[in-house]
């Protein structure tokens, strides 16, 4: 058969010579190799909770709902993020801004409830791309582990950015 590449390795099987059959030189060689690892090789482990690896520039982690320069929530509950979400992880309930709440919400409509199910989310970033108000970014950390499924549904308490310092 014609070979696809010109790579070829001739395999020869000679009978073992005396020293090879005696095992011992090979065993000593192996012991030397492992000892080299024991003495000189550094471990590559990142001791996770204490030590963290640096994320890349475009790493997508936990979502955060942004505020504008005056500390008002940018989200207007248009629902484009929920619509774009391929995993259907986002749900929201919108509400109308009442007089006197202008310092809390930027638009007349805002998200009263905004929930992301972190078990469904695939961190694709389409919500970020879909948002016309630049209100959601996946710029957070890794989602921490938890014991119950219901605890993975993150509400506004966890998602909204901390308010500006007054």
């Amino acid at each position: 058969m014609e070979s696809l590449s010109n790579k070829r390795k001739v395999i020869e099987s000679k009978p073992l010579n005396f020293w090879e059959r005696a095992y011992l030189p090979a065993i000593l060689h192996g012991l030397a190799i492992t000892m080299k690892h024991f003495l000189f090789k550094k471990d590559v482990t990142v001791r996770y909770p204490e030590q963290k690896r640096e994320f890349s520039e475009n790493f997508r982690g936990m979502h955060s709902l942004k505020r504008d320069e005056e500390g008002r929530e940018r989200c207007t509950a248009c629902g484009l993020c929920a619509l774009s979400c391929p995993a259907e992880a986002i749900t929201m309930i919108s509400a109308e801004r009442q007089p006197g709440e202008e310092n809390l919400y930027r638009e007349e409509k805002y998200a009263a409830v905004y929930e992301i199910n972190m078990l469904r989310c695939i961190f694709c970033g389409l919500c970020e791309e879909a948002c016309p108000k630049e209100a959601i970014y996946l710029d957070g950390d890794i989602i921490p582990a938890d014991y119950l499924r219901k605890d993975f549904i993150y509400g506004k308490d966890k998602l909204v950015e901390a308010p500006l310092n007054q």
Binding site: I27, H37, F38
Partner: protein, 341 residues
């Protein structure tokens, strides 16, 4: 023998028992750490500083696990198996001389539980009893994998005991005694038996690996073929006893190797340092333990280097290589003693 002497003896027994348990406990930790370093990993480091409390955590886990005795297992023998394994592992250390005599006031304390004149034979007897623990446990489990593991353990131990015994015979030809105390005393200073019996030591250490069921001869618990081998059905502290017995066996066989071939508690220039007898004795005990720890480390070193033998290769090595070599060693020793010495 007065009351004080009996009390001292009793204390010695308890101390040696505790030390072997402690060393076995920390061998499990050392094994994991050593394995980690050989594989460029970190190893257990969560329980306490550097994971130093890991053995306690493991022990607590073992005690809290559910005790399962399979319905079709023989209940009595199922419990006898691990008990026998741990018991034979523990009594092996009785004849090992840990050091010379300590003199406190008028009392002369012999750092050896008992100096029987057939010490080497006693060790052999205990070691060959050890396989019954594995065999009975595997058989009583009423599980084909356990049974296969047990059969392998039995045949392996019987095969390697022959080579081990033959390698010891050539050692006994040069020392002329079966008492471990006398063998240790003959190796005063630099006159270690390894110099006179290098081939014998090589055979002995290979057989020691086989007798303690350590890699490369850990076929009785070969996971790939036999699930867990003889302890497949065991859980909780009964499993713990089997694992523990392996580490105690390792400790005892390291001690035997150090005593028979590496001078036991002897070290070079031990009487030209100008120290008092008691200090020399204490230093000797430390030296003996250093040798033992080196051998335990060597057991681990080999475990993380050499892959497991196939069953037929194991039998080949035992019957076709080690036994003829051991016999040749006896002949060579005999010739050397007749014509050169």
């Amino acid at each position: 023998m007065g009351t004080a002497d009996i009390l001292i003896k009793f204390a010695l027994i308890v101390i040696i028992f505790l030390i072997s348990l402690l060393i076995a406990m920390y061998s499990t930790y050392a094994e994991r750490k050593v394995a980690a370093f050989f594989q460029d990993r970190v190893g257990p480091n969560r329980a306490g500083p550097f994971g130093i409390l890991q053995p306690l955590a493991d022990g607590a886990k073992m005690f809290l696990k559910e005790e399962i005795i399979p319905t079709h297992a023989n209940g009595f023998l199922f419990i006898v198996g691990p008990s026998l394994a741990i018991m034979t592992a523990c009594i092996g250390s009785a004849v090992i001389p840990w050091g010379q005599k300590l003199t406190i006031g008028t009392h002369v304390i012999d750092l050896q539980v008992t100096d029987i004149n057939v010490g080497v034979l006693y060790i052999f007897g205990v070691v060959s009893l050890g396989v019954y623990g594995v065999m009975i446990g595997g058989w009583a489990s009423n599980n084909k994998y356990s049974l296969l593991g047990a059969i392998r353990a039995a045949s392996q131990n019987i095969s390697y005991e022959i080579a081990m015994g033959l390698s010891i015979i050539s050692l006994l030809m040069t020392t002329g005694t079966l008492s471990l105390r006398e063998i240790a005393e003959q190796q005063h200073g630099w006159h270690w038996n390894i110099i006179y019996q290098p081939l014998g030591f090589l055979i002995f250490i290979v057989c020691a690996f086989a007798e303690t069921n350590r890699t490369p001869f850990d076929l009785p618990e070969c996971e790939t073929e036999l699930v867990g081998g003889y302890h497949t059905e065991y859980s909780s502290m009964k499993l713990g006893f089997y694992l523990f017995a392996e580490y105690i066996n390792m400790f005892v066989s390291s001690a035997v190797m150090a005593t028979l071939y590496f001078g036991g508690y002897n070290f070079p220039f031990m009487h030209s340092l100008g120290l008092s007898e008691n200090w020399v004795t204490i230093l000797g005990v430390i030296v003996l333990f250093a040798k033992i720890f080196f051998f335990i480390f060597f057991f681990m070193w080999v475990r993380w280097t050499i892959p497991r033998f196939r069953y037929d290769q194991l039998m080949d090595l035992g019957w076709k290589t080690l036994i003829p070599l051991a016999i040749a060693n006896i002949v060579l020793t005999g010739l050397w003693m007749t014509f050169i010495k």
